[in-house]
Amino acid sequence: MSRTPRVILSLSVVAVALALISIAVGAYTLSLPDLMATLFGGGTPSDRFIVLKLRLPRVLLAVLVSIGFGLAGALFQSLLRNALASPDIIGISGGASVAAVLSLLVFGATGLVVPLSALLGALVVAFTIYLLSWRSGMNGMRFVLIGVGIAFMAQAVLGYLITRGDVRDAQQALVWMVGGLGGSSWGDILIMAVSLAVLLPAVVVLAAKLRMLQLGDDLAAGLGVSVQRSRLALIVVAVALVAIATALVGPLAFVAFVSAPIARRLVGGGGLALVPSALVAIVLVLGSDFVAQHLIATGAQVPTGIVTGIVGAPYLLWLISTTNREGRAS
């Protein structure tokens, strides 16, 4: 008996509750009836301003990018059969960071140029890894190892940029590199929503193939899956998910890496756990954003990406120490 439906239901309830709390609570806190009225078209003008202009966009963007990060992590880890093979570790977030920090520090870019550079950086890195790992077919292990090599090169470039510039610029770059939901706008939401509308159906179609690929290349080919083409399609979809999300909010540290392992431990069994992974990501990001905004008392705005590690790590550690089943590391 799978625990999947129960896990999905509980995670959804937690996600909705966190979303409502995030919208309602703040310097000015709305009561639940007021919140509901405002969300469904009523409410006072000031309530409408606070909810629709300030808080709702942040929560919606958090939910949408989390789906991107959670799914991308789960897809990469399953496809490459390695628990470490999340986009942050195989260089894709690194490519986005290098391009964004380069545009910030060297070219003094602002506004749309930064996310566009990040998107470009992620895509260029992913394409480079794919090309370099192609040798009469793509081998998952080769892809991962080359990705890790590129990730370390990206880290070296970031280290160079951070140590050479003025310390205040370095700090600004650091803020981008941990990622945050500070500047969420309806425009960002539209971009992410359209991207998901295109990519999610592709994920649904490809998930069936991924399940067979997990049986091993030969067996999958025997079952009629065109191994190379499916693998390329999966990589394209996963890269697109993480690249667009990263361009909008920065590489929210740890979300892509941790969501799938947590989801698999909750669900049990050896499935892909794609929906639970996305839900775990949503809960993690909403929870972290709430902590970042309200529970950490510093003068400056704390970027969400700082808290994802502090919130997610203890939970994963607790799961590791209490579950005997290994989940599937693949």
Binding site: A83, L84, R142, I146, Q155, V178, S321
Partner: protein, 345 residues
């Protein structure tokens, strides 16, 4: 799952190849050591190296530079590279994951947090002053990772170690970022330590950690045969009489001692531990005793080459070895990964 052997298409027998690679890497290291003493921003003739070390002339500035500046950083590079190369090989063996890096046990993150503490709370600014903080932080983080990874009925399985290590690293990194984003002065000092460098270390630092490196190497040497058995899988290893948890504990001890020393000496240098075993494996085959032995020679060679390149490339200024090492190491790794046939083991 993910253990991988890189099988070269060479026709030489494995035995010949091992001894050849062992000898060749020793020669390479000897050359690199001499170059590290002779090359730098200040042009010094090779003929000065020998007298500088063994019969110094009073008032000879070239010899002074060699003895007081280049000799310490060469020794620091030798020790740190050796420690990282060996620790990387052991780490990949114990986690059976070719992506495992010594940093994976949380070592670099723990050391970094302790150093951030030393800078921001205790206002220590001199690299030698960080040594014990870095060492203690590294050991504490690795112990936490290992302890959490060992909980549960089946003990410290590779997957649990890998996940626990990454989780602890992520949590600690968050705390560090939180401090750095709000504390500009600490960031200004920490950013230079955090890239990893062999410059401005003194022999006093070497004297403090050399004992730990020797102890770590001893553990690593003992773990070689055990890792060969563990590589077969836990069940088979047990069947052959290997107590798996003993193997993992010895290996973890080696990694903590070696990485703690390297990080204390040179800062959190990444990549050496990851890439060196991958460079070595095509030549030695999957026997961990050989992988560890040759990694111990290739590690310092790579780190010192990076340091020398960093001294020359933007002379008279310099690039930190920790930055250069990935830029020259990654292409080597990519070329190797592309050239050899990857076979699951």
């Amino acid at each position: 799952m993910t253990r991988t052997a890189l099988t070269p298409r060479a026709t030489l027998s494995l035995r010949t190849r091992r001894w050849l690679s062992f000898t060749a890497s020793l020669v390479l290291l000897a050359v690199v050591l001499v170059l590290s003493l002779a090359l730098g921003a200040r042009g010094i003739e090779f003929s000065q190296v020998w007298p500088a070390l063994f019969s110094p002339e009073v008032g000879n500035n070239d010899q002074l530079v060699i003895r007081d500046l280049r000799l310490p950083r060469t020794i620091v590079g030798l020790l740190a590279g050796l420690a990282l190369g060996v620790a990387g090989a052991v780490m990949q063996g114990v986690t059976r994951n070719p992506l495992a890096d010594p940093g994976l046990l949380g070592v670099n993150a723990g050391a970094s947090l302790a150093v951030v503490f030393a800078i921001s709370v205790l206002s220590i600014t001199n690299p030698t002053g960080y040594i014990w903080f870095a060492f203690a932080g590294a050991a504490a983080a690795a112990s936490i990772v290992y302890a959490i990874g060992s909980l549960g009925r089946e003990g410290a399985t590779p997957v649990k170690l890998v996940l626990a290590g990454t989780a602890v690293t992520a949590g600690i990194t968050s705390v560090i970022s939180l401090v750095l984003i709000s504390d500009t002065d600490t960031l200004n000092i920490f950013r230079f330590w955090s890239v990893g460098s062999l410059a401005s270390r003194d022999l006093e630092a070497v004297r403090l950690v050399v004992g730990f490196v020797v102890a770590g190497l001893t553990f690593a040497a003992i773990s070689g045969r055990m890792l060969n058995l563990v590589a077969l899988g836990d069940d088979l290893a047990r069947g052959l009489g290997q107590r798996v948890y003993v193997a993992r504990a010895v290996a973890a001890g080696a990694v903590v001692l070696l990485c703690g020393s390297a990080t204390a000496l040179a800062g959190p240098i990444v990549f050496v531990g990851l890439v060196v075993p991958h460079i070595v494996r095509p030549f030695t085959g999957p026997d961990y005793r050989w992988i560890i032995a040759v990694s111990a020679i290739v590690g310092p060679s790579l780190l010192l080459i990076a340091d020398i390149v960093g001294r020359l490339i933007v002379s008279p200024s310099e690039l930190e070895a920790g930055l250069v090492v990935a830029v020259i190491g990654a292409p080597v790794m990519i070329a190797l990964v592309r050239r050899v046939k990857l076979a699951g083991l």
